[in-house]
Symmetry: D2
Subunit: 303 residues, 4 copies
């Protein structure tokens, strides 16, 4: 299945029992939470993902739901994020929004950063105006290599050295296999960002090892690769008539030789969708990092 | 081939000899011009397009070319547009940009309108400051039904009654079958806009009949439907093993039952691409409508 | 006071008793409502405004307040709007957003239209899916003369003929005299739009007479003219030393001969401010036109 | 003259002979070049600017000119920039765009960065595809303190440590005193960015000392402070009647107690103006850093 690409660990598992992989799943209202835990190198190889925890929150398509589902997603995301966070100390949290803000489906990271409540400068300059319910937060969108000429890892590394955070939360637009998950599934992992992942195909890892600090990654699929869809169509056919995998791969390669290979599949309303999802992610982050503030207080501080 | 959808007449023709259809093709530098002329109802039925002339300008992918190709495309488009225009008189030309400016691949029309040199108000208010090399032009982007609650035809009809144009030029984002044509092929037709066409799936016709004035339509594909790609993948396979058409259609329907059916396939860099293509279309229109003005004079008047 | 320019009737009144003008004022929570009623031609001349009712809602600067004040403003605006609306019948309401969407302080109208719930097409196509709590609404942003070559009045007139509304609500960005009112004061009037008003300096009237239907206008100041500020500075000085009015006007003319005359004064955060104000106006309109729908239902229908 | 604020050294000089300050001026076509050289601490104190060279390119209002003037400005800027640049070596040039991309008049830096040709990654990864006519360039827009919670200096410092540039070029939106200079005057200096300068009021210096590498700064005024205009109006009056400076300052303070103090004065068409100016700055930078490439080659590489 070489032509199929997804950044969601849960889409790799299938209905199989995998050695070195623990999967659990539960529901909270209309949201299904799945936790995939990769414990061994064998499990990592089977799923083609780094060892660690991958928590997925899945809901029905956001665009067709009311505001309650979004509020519930943000609230649940805040809780799951808190569960993976290291204990609080005086150091700030650094939020990094990956991706290219001029490429709509890749702009989720920068747009989430814009909606994140930053407070590190207030803690430093007006310490009397903050209280226990808040923690110091800073946030950047470092841009992408083709636009800056600098690897994301280089920018992140430089900033980590300056601000000395206790944890880095990286936001990224992901790819999925199933169209139903685009814009409606949040993945949270303690493995950071791996090379080749994301809509922007990051080339360097942003992990505990490369940044020297705990790295959590948060993402939502915004695209499917055109090749994935064609390959799924071919696979469906082959189930019926027994065409061999290699033959399908060969056909798929032929199909994607030209411009099609660089094309992406997105919902038609991707511009609005990315804005809505960025709001949910930022809201979840704000709740996790300033657990004592009400949504109203956060809104007031951001306006 | 029911699942395949394209707004390009030339993609419907294939390598067949079709009754009631005349196809001719020639080259101008790196650009291939194809003219499909549908002369009879039989031809219209075969191609599923209204009778009339469809001129297509095709070039290599714009994003990988230098500025000369864009200049050449604009210039050739200006010439072809002039060829289809009714004779000049005192009445203005009305340019209408269809589509939703907040949906990137559907925003080609509004973005072209923004770059079109409008002069009708100068002809009316400062007649001494215009000269023979210019003609009166006005331009609107009426928005889409879901955003305005008004059919595009209603807005267009209302404005046509007010400004009494000698010709309407409608700009629209199209769908294609071949990914290589996205962003690099311009179609010009004297048949106007037909129901169901375009990325936005217009529901009413904008034609000589509905608007009571000559209507030309100008468009560039910005998306392929996800279903088209899957169907093409299936077709390729079936050429090898003889699967029947109905079976493929059935498989395709199964594949597109859910969210996938509403998804579109675009180049990753669609935001920039739409801007570039809008500039080419507007430049072609400006050259056709103000044939005596240099590109530099047009730029100066627009800044 | 020739160099002073404001679109707010209440800023013209001063602390004077004016013949033909009735002024009343009351409070609702943190919001001050002022009603200026111009009953005679004499009053109209004194205030340089058309006869009719001007209702102003004033609050503290929005950017420094929490979400409750915005909710209260929208709710109060909805009530005041209802008070001026003609009785309901089967015809739709037409909302027209004036101004240039590419000029931030002039983009209030188009941005309000984007956030208005339109329903006319649902009433026509899916009558079973609407209910008593809703009314048919359509909305357009016709663009400005310099961009379209068509007078706003021409576009509005053409659309009014097509959709036959029972009332037109026109939204526009205004100019003020006092900086404290920029972004924080809403004016609602039954006199429509007068020539020369608004940030965009509309040249034709949009009124009951020109459109043949009841016209309400809704606006918020987003700019002050640079000349107004300089003139106020000069006036302040002249109060101290008795410089004559004509002398001040002469000085002001000298000061504004060059580029300064075309400059506007806005809050630094005008981009965000216009978005926030558009949301309040749209929310007020939505509540007035669909009085039975909850804010949550409206949000769900718009996503 | 305490209420007057400008970032242009040339606006500080007046028609005076100042000790420790050398001023020279010459013309190149329609462009006036002025060089202010502050040689001593005394001169620095007199002009309230750091010692160093300030080169200003002034032209007529861009918005009313044709494309040639823009081409001439970019070309001259490239030459002046080269004159101040340290000798070339293997290290890259780092371009830093200051300011808030969501605040139009403050977005000049980020917008210039978007239009700058970056090549550092190509030099590193595809060294065979670059040639002598190019040099390695990287570029970032670090965001502003209120949005990121991180001082611009901290981000800049972190990135400088990672990429080890031979020179940093900082781009910033400036304030002016004379409205005729808004959008039409470029200032280039070898003194870097001083605290309190720019539309965004940067609080830390970005200089040779703070970054440990040569820093050039490039800026264009996009706003005037409202207070400057009022103060100029008052001064004009006082020339006539001899009002004392202290009295004027007192009046000005009274005038600017409220919201007005935070307001800015910009041309109405600031959105377009910032885009045009960013294009000129980026074009000048591209010509200085890749002196062998034609404008056409640069455009092709950027698309």
């Amino acid at each position: 299945m070489r032509q199929i690409r997804t950044d969601l660990a849960m889409e790799q598992t299938g209905a199989r029992d995998l050695p070195g992989v623990t999967i659990s799943s539960w529901e909270a209202g209309d949201i299904v939470i799945t936790e995939v835990r990769i414990d061994t190198g064998e499990g990592a190889k089977l799923l083609n993902k780094a060892p660690g925890v991958y928590v997925t929150l899945e809901c029905a398509p956001l665009r067709k739901q009311g505001p309650e589902l979004r509020i519930a997603m943000a609230s649940l995301l805040g809780e799951e994020l808190l569960r993976l966070m290291p204990p609080e100390d005086d150091r700030p949290v650094l939020v990094i929004g990956l991706g290219n803000r001029s490429v709509t489906p890749d702009s989720l990271g920068p747009k989430t950063v814009e909606r994140t409540l930053v407070t590190r400068h207030i803690f430093r300059e007006l310490p009397d105006s903050v209280d226990d319910r808040m923690s110091p937060v800073c946030a950047v969108a470092p841009g992408v290599l083709g636009v800056t000429g600098i690897e994301t890892l280089e920018v992140a590394h430089g900033i980590v050295r300056e601000v000395n955070p206790r944890v880095v939360i990286v936001i990224d637009a992901l790819t999925a296999r199933a169209s139903s998950r685009v814009g409606s599934t949040v993945q949270l992992t303690d493995t950071g960002i791996q090379p080749g992942s994301g809509v922007g195909n990051h080339r360097s890892a942003l992990t505990d090892e490369t940044l020297g600090v705990k790295v959590l990654a948060l993402g939502v699929p915004t695209v499917i690769y055109a090749a994935t869809i064609a390959r799924d169509a071919l696979s469906m056919l082959s189930e019926d008539d027994g065409t061999r995998e290699e033959e399908l791969d060969h056909l798929c390669e032929k199909l994607f030789e030209g411009a099609l290979g660089e094309m992406i599949v997105t919902p038609r309303e991707i511009d609005d969708l990315v804005g809505d999802v960025a709001q949910i992610l930022a809201s979840g982050i704000n709740q996790a990092l300033h657990p004592g503030l009400s949504e109203k207080e956060i809104l007031t501080m951001m306006s």
